[in-house]
Subunit: 196 residues, 4 copies
DNA sequence: ACCGGCGGGACGCCCCGTTAAT
DNA sequence: ATTAACGGGGCGTCCCGCCGGT
């Protein structure tokens, strides 16, 4: 007998995997159910608003998990630039994995931006959380508030974009360039601050 | 009487519009046909491989158009940084338009990355074209080949990523930050080169 | 804490309302549960045979209530014709109400005629009760058994049919015509008897 | 190879049969498709609004067919009362058939009255057509306009109601009583007119 | 005895992208 | 070169058990 609430997390996990690889619209609910080994009735019990609500839960879950991991990385004493470089290296490895996994949130977010406010808002929260994580670390390093926010946002954008380009082109060149560029952004601003 | 080949371009234009707003999988062939005012038979006359081939044509068309426009911008005598800033300003305006239009290619590309090599390759070509346009301008400015390529790729990734984040968050902050960051990347690399 | 058996009557009342407006098959058990503010477990406690048994209970309850009301009307000293006219006037008012309510039994009965003997028999009993009520009054007025039965049946049929036609056409014309016709049937039969 | 437009009429015929026996909501589209031996795609080609539009077409088709038949009956020289008696006898025979067939329109109409204006209006037209057919015959017999309309409406209501009661009770008593009552209504009014 | 949460399959209607015929 | 037909699958919701708690 399955213990209560196995269904819910199984659905989120399976959906996260499939959305990440195939996209939101291209992934059928039935496929998710099959992978999760859960019957349709249960989905509707846990997520009365169906696929959209499930997607929002996936975004929240994956976004939160990534944010926690990111914050743990950023808590280290290493320079931010090195931490971000390490982070991107992780993405490169993921990209080389079987599923050619990219960002777990971006496909869901992009496809739902004009269709599901529920998902859009969850995605916005997730990205904001990541940006805040980086921004707070920069502030701790002594960056002025405004510069910290802007640079954090640019770094997240740079990584997102590079991940997409790399997935499409099939090689890691974009991510490698992003490493160099992120290092430059984080260093150059530092230099500017030091130079003041 | 419609002149020959009205169908083909009407299909591409309509599909481009709809894919950009709704995504690839979420856009039905019937919807495209209706908007284009074209009957199903014509689609399979011009694009025997159906929706995928149409999407590839859209990517090629939109990608080429953007590349031509980008090259015209980059031909100016202004500094690259200013040109890129102007480019991003255009995207900010587009984002504020009715359709909250983002990149015309990225949604198609992301959704097709694991599903349609045809589209994936067309998308890769488009992004490579843009990157080359920027890279060539940097080389003309005297940048060494390797730096030019890397920085161009990073700038395109940065813009792509910022556009996505801005679309999702609903405000232009990410694109604004991208402007600052792009300026920094293009300037700092120049400085590094000059300083050497 | 809800007092025992609130659930049962709440279910019957809610189901009666919804079946009458939407029909039997078109009304979901979940909708009934929601309106009744009762959880699924309770339904299958009170009605082990589920929706069908609930429908039968609704028919029995509503049918009995109407029969009691009808008998009270018919107990008056007024001529039958006038009583029936008053009855139809009530239906006209109900029809003009918010829910455009028709007969509470007929939709359930019609939909179940070939599907649920349980409900079919309950419906037959309800209609037979109404017919008997009218027939008994006619006998009390001195009508011969056979005429009383036939005319009572015809009057009930006439009213049922007129109610349906009025609901569909959206105006009360059919019910108005039924008033005239019912008066004629009850008078003419009387005349025939007197004239004999 | 099926010749064009076989699908459309096959769908209407099959739906008419099934709706009449099982009701509208209780009949699944898939069941109709199976009986008609037609694939789902075709249904939505001929009836873009789906089940509702199909039901409206069924009502229109069956209603029209009955009206034509009814008018042919009423064109005869026999007295109206006899014609109506003959008509009811037909219904009694139908009721005794395998499918316990009742009115082909009433179940659809009743179930859709609060759900589908499309069907409601088609049903109203059908019933109005039948009423007009009887009313016109009465006028031809010399009845005054108002009496003709009212009596025609009452006769149709009486027959509809009796058919329902007979279907539910499982015997033809209600229809038999309706024969007597209809005869009385049509004769008594005639007598009144003659007596004037 | 009564109620609540969760799960289970089946099926609801609709529409998809596509192919053949007229 | 348009209208008809084709299967298959889209998501949602159906009605109903089986528990555990009270």
């Amino acid at each position: 007998m399955p213990r209560p609430d196995r269904s819910r997390s199984a659905l989120i996990d399976s959906a996260a995997l499939l959305f990440r690889r195939q996209g939101y619209a291209a992934t059928g609910v039935n496929q998710i159910l099959e992978v999760a080994d859960v019957k349709a009735g249960s989905l509707y019990h846990h997520f009365p608003n169906g696929k959209q609500e499930l997607a929002a839960a996936v975004v929240e879950s994956a976004g939160g998990e990534i944010e926690r991991l990111l914050r743990r990385f950023l808590d280290s004493d290493s320079p931010v630039g090195e931490i971000v470089n390490g982070w991107i290296d992780l993405l490169i490895v993921q990209l080389a994995s079987d599923g050619r996994d990219g960002c777990p949130i971006e496909p869901i977010a992009t496809e739902s931006v004009n269709a599901s406010p529920l998902v859009r808002e969850a995605s916005a929260r997730a990205f904001a959380g990541w940006t805040d994580a980086v921004g707070q670390r920069l502030r701790r390093d002594g960056w002025p508030e405004r510069d910290a926010r802007q640079t954090a946002l640019a770094v997240i954008a740079l990584i997102e974009g590079a991940l997409i380009l790399s997935r499409i082109s099939g090689d890691a060149a974009a991510l490698q360039s992003a490493k160099v560029a992120a290092g430059s952004l984080l260093r150059s601003a530092l230099a500017a601050r030091d130079g003041s």
